[in-house]
Symmetry: C2
Subunit: 118 residues, 2 copies
């Protein structure tokens, strides 16, 4: 079965979402999903809620996140997520991998652009 | 069924490989798979051959690439790939998406690092 072609954007985004979510949690100490989406939106990274939840579940199952329920005056109780010690280590690994990859991609793109203009 | 956790590196890489391969082809005009792997290796982006082939097939099926067979004195004939007009447009879209995403991720990471050191 031929897999449906994803939008260019979505495949690129998928790779970095874990790093972004973990980084937001490291910065905020504790956050509930709407907080995270707002933080990403402020950085112009727009993802649907339906994309966020499975990632949070996966990270929680991998023991990188934990959560607690917090009562809210504005509606139902909210799940506040925070990083575990393993999550802090994993975020650092992702961060290092991202930096390294970014450097590689920059090199490849630069060669292309140099060639185009020469 | 719980999906096996991928290495941090591999999920990040997956998102950018199409952009890298298309960019190498734009730069080289024409290349066979070993050329592409060598180009990536020079930029410190190491992927196994088995990862490259399915991406080339997917890009070819999407009409972004074409290829021709070229005789080689060193062994069997080689498949030389090149970009189609649609492939040039798609590469530009991926490039733009990558630039935009990179900016968003930088913002999120910068906030985290600022917070950590303050």
């Amino acid at each position: 079965v031929e897999q449906q072609q994803q939008s260019p954007n979505s495949q690129l985004k998928k790779g970095v979402l874990e790093l972004c979510i973990l980084s937001i949690l490291q910065q905020q100490q504790e956050a509930y999903p709407s907080n995270m989406l707002e933080n990403m939106r402020e950085a112009n990274l727009i993802i649907p809620e339906g994309t966020l939840y499975p990632i949070l579940t996966r990270l929680k199952n991998a023991a990188y996140l934990t959560y607690r329920w917090v009562e809210s005056t504005e509606g139902p109780p909210r799940k506040y997520f925070s990083l575990t010690a393993e999550g802090i280590v994993y975020r650092q690994q992702l961060f290092d991998a991202w930096q390294e990859l970014n450097e590689s991609v920059s090199k490849i793109l630069q060669q292309t652009n140099t060639k185009q203009h020469s």
